[in-house]
Amino acid sequence: MTRELLTGNGAAAWGARLARVDYVPAFPITPQTEIIESLANWIDAGEMPGRLVTLESEHSMLTAAGAAASTGVRVFSATSSQGLLYAMEMLYTVAGWRAPFVLINVSRGLSAPITLEPDHNDVLAARDSGFLQIHCANCQEVLDSVLMAYRLAEDHRVRQPVLVNLDGFYLSFTREPVSVPGPAAVDAFLPRFDSESIALRASAPESQAVAVLGGGPYSYFRYQTHLALLNGLSAYDQIAAEFADLFGRQWPAVEAYRCDDAQIVFLMIGSFATKARAAVDQLRAAGQSVGLLRPRLLRPFPEQAMRQHLLGKRAVAVIDQNLSLGKGGILFTEVASALYGKPDAPLLVSFIGGLGGRDITPEEFFEIARLADQAAARGEAPAPRLLYTDDELREMHKLQTLAHVERNSLRDKA
């Protein structure tokens, strides 16, 4: 084991290297590119075995990934944002193939308007695809999650592709001390991929991904895949326990921070949850009983664990770093569905923040806690709220004024 300063992208690449991946179909996109560059350089320098092939699109990249995994090798790939959406047809397709491999998504807001900084609309667009989803909040977690993701993907009870998510810029380009386990320790946790029945071989002809006619077989195969994802819940717990035994780091499906005796709970995913965590400490220091719940596993959705942590609380503030246009926060509806109709369900309050990498400040977390407490006292949830300050609105109006001036000056010249 060595301790190194790694970016989130570097940690993802190290995860793939330690997992001894055989095959990396690749396509560059900001802010993910550093991952495939690192792997390409290691492979070229002979520092890791394996083959990296740059495809001409993410759609083709995912096709090649699924096809190679279905032939029986260990596959790794990575993308972001528009790339994930460009590949979306194949995300659903290869998940239906039951092709086990690991895909990294480095979150970045979606076009339009086109932007580079993160939110979670990209990865949540893949929510229903049949990929399991693990969401990371720090660089160590990225490396560890890649290793755990292979165990999960290749587990007999699951046999599905797994998506590991990290936030662009905040994690992808942020260096943190990361403990890089030695190859022998990783091998003990993650043995070489034995694809068994997943293969294409001359002696054992196999028809994969064939068509079905009618809703009967279609429903059967779709539901069977759903059950495979649900199997991922217990498989995950077992794999995480084994990981903790070997490496001493705990990565539960749902991470609870100062939650046990909390009245008010922040609920967030991804790297911005570390901001909420800092706010929890400050609020605790000020005498308020606030905690943080951070689901790492979003698919399968750890409903039981969420209920265990949240039933009996006074209020839960769900802070969504995404926006389902025409509805609101996606995580909010997921949490609500897990708690609805259960005795002692807390009041749920919805906030939207961090879109396109927009910061969430400590003061905003304090205000969220205050509003959640108020709502609980009233017994009624307020309307969902976008985190956006008067200053930001003033800055936006300045930009609009500039835009008008620019347009008028063009008109004058013409």
């Binding site: 055989d22 095959y23 179909p25 075995p49 083959r51 092939v53 495809l55 001409e56 699109s57 759609h59 083709s60 990249m61 096709t63 090649a64 990934a65 699924g66 096809a67 190679a68 995994a69 279905s70 032939t71 029986g72 090798v73 596959v75 047809e89 194949m90 397709t93 294409l200 071989r201 001359a202 002696s203 002809p205 196999e206 028809s207 994969q208 991904a209 064939v210 068509a211 079905v212 006619l213 077989p217």
Partner: protein, 306 residues
């Protein structure tokens, strides 16, 4: 191609046992299935067919398949990328000695013209440019046949389709996919047709002997899409060659050679008038201008080729 190297000299040299199973959901008289039968007999079962969305996706419907070898359906746009993944995985397994060489497979893409001339072109171009060792079979029935024959990038000038029903038919011109392949300098490219099985067999044989990206572009007379009686599939196929509308050729070692030069060439009209999609050229009155234009296109091609 050196004819002395081939094991196919006469029709009776062609395989007499057929590998592809019967009872598929393809239409009666499907020229694509005819070509596939002939190709598969020679390719054999140590193959994996990576399929793009099209008519032939329905060859393998759970729990049946007519293939003795393997099959992987992908999507419409990315079958060559699927072939890349399979080929790379097999190479990795061979290289690491995790699989004996006897388990290796030939990777074959099976695609219609809808994907090959349009949506799948970018993935195909990239697979050729990467030098992928695969065989790319196109059954070209000159339209989106599986959805009821709307025009595609492969539809010939003046053909009536479900989306060019009236007037003088399709206004565009058939894209030259063979030349697009040749521009990539692939290992091999050939046009074939099921109605000329000996020429087809030699080309499959030739393609199998070469590593790299290889095209077999099969014109696929389509009774339902082209509107003719299924019993005419072979006649129409032969006329496509004898009128010179479908030149049989191959690209090998940097050169394009015609493998069958129709002499004398029959008038294009003979090919056109058997097909309902061109009936507006003859009824209610002859469209002399269009007919002359279509004949002139073919004449110009052969003038340049000779």
């Amino acid at each position: 191609m050196s004819k002395t190297m081939t094991r196919f000299h006469r029709i009776k040299d062609l395989p007499s046992t057929h590998l592809l199973g019967t009872g598929t959901p393809m239409c009666a008289g499907c020229g694509g299935l005819q070509a596939l039968h002939e190709i598969y007999d020679i390719l054999g079962e140590r193959t994996v067919f990576v399929n793009a969305a099209g008519c032939m996706t329905l060859l393998s419907v759970y729990p049946f398949t007519p293939f003795r070898g393997s099959w992987l359906y992908t999507a419409m746009a990315s079958a060559p990328a699927g072939a890349q993944g399979v080929r790379d995985a097999l190479d990795i397994l061979l290289q690491q000695r995790r699989m004996p060489a006897t388990e290796d497979l030939q990777v074959v893409v099976l695609t219609g013209d809808g994907a090959a001339y349009g949506m799948g072109l970018s993935a195909t171009s990239a697979a050729i440019e990467r030098g992928l060792d695969f065989l790319y079979i196109v059954y070209d029935n000159e339209g989106y046949g599986n959805t009821g024959q709307q025009y595609s990038g492969a539809t010939p000038h003046a053909a009536r389709t479900a989306t060019s029903r009236t007037g003088q038919g399709f206004r565009g011109r058939k894209k030259d996919l063979f030349e697009i392949w040749v521009a990539h300098r692939p290992a091999y490219a050939a046009t074939v047709i099921g109605a000329e099985p000996l020429d087809l067999a030699r080309k499959v044989e030739q393609a199998m002997a070469i590593r790299g990206p290889k095209l077999l572009l099969a014109l696929a007379p389509c009774p339902t899409g082209w509107d003719f009686d299924p019993r005419l599939t072979v006649d129409i196929g032969r006329l496509a060659v004898r009128t010179g509308i479908w030149p049989l050729k191959e690209y090998v070692d940097g050169e394009v050679l015609h493998t069958k030069t129709p002499r004398p060439r029959r008038p294009v009209e003979e090919y056109l008038r058997l097909q309902g999609r061109f009936s507006h050229l003859f009824e209610p009155q002859r469209e002399e201008g269009l007919l002359a234009e279509l004949q002139a296109d073919v004449d110009a091609y052969w003038a340049a080729a000779d």
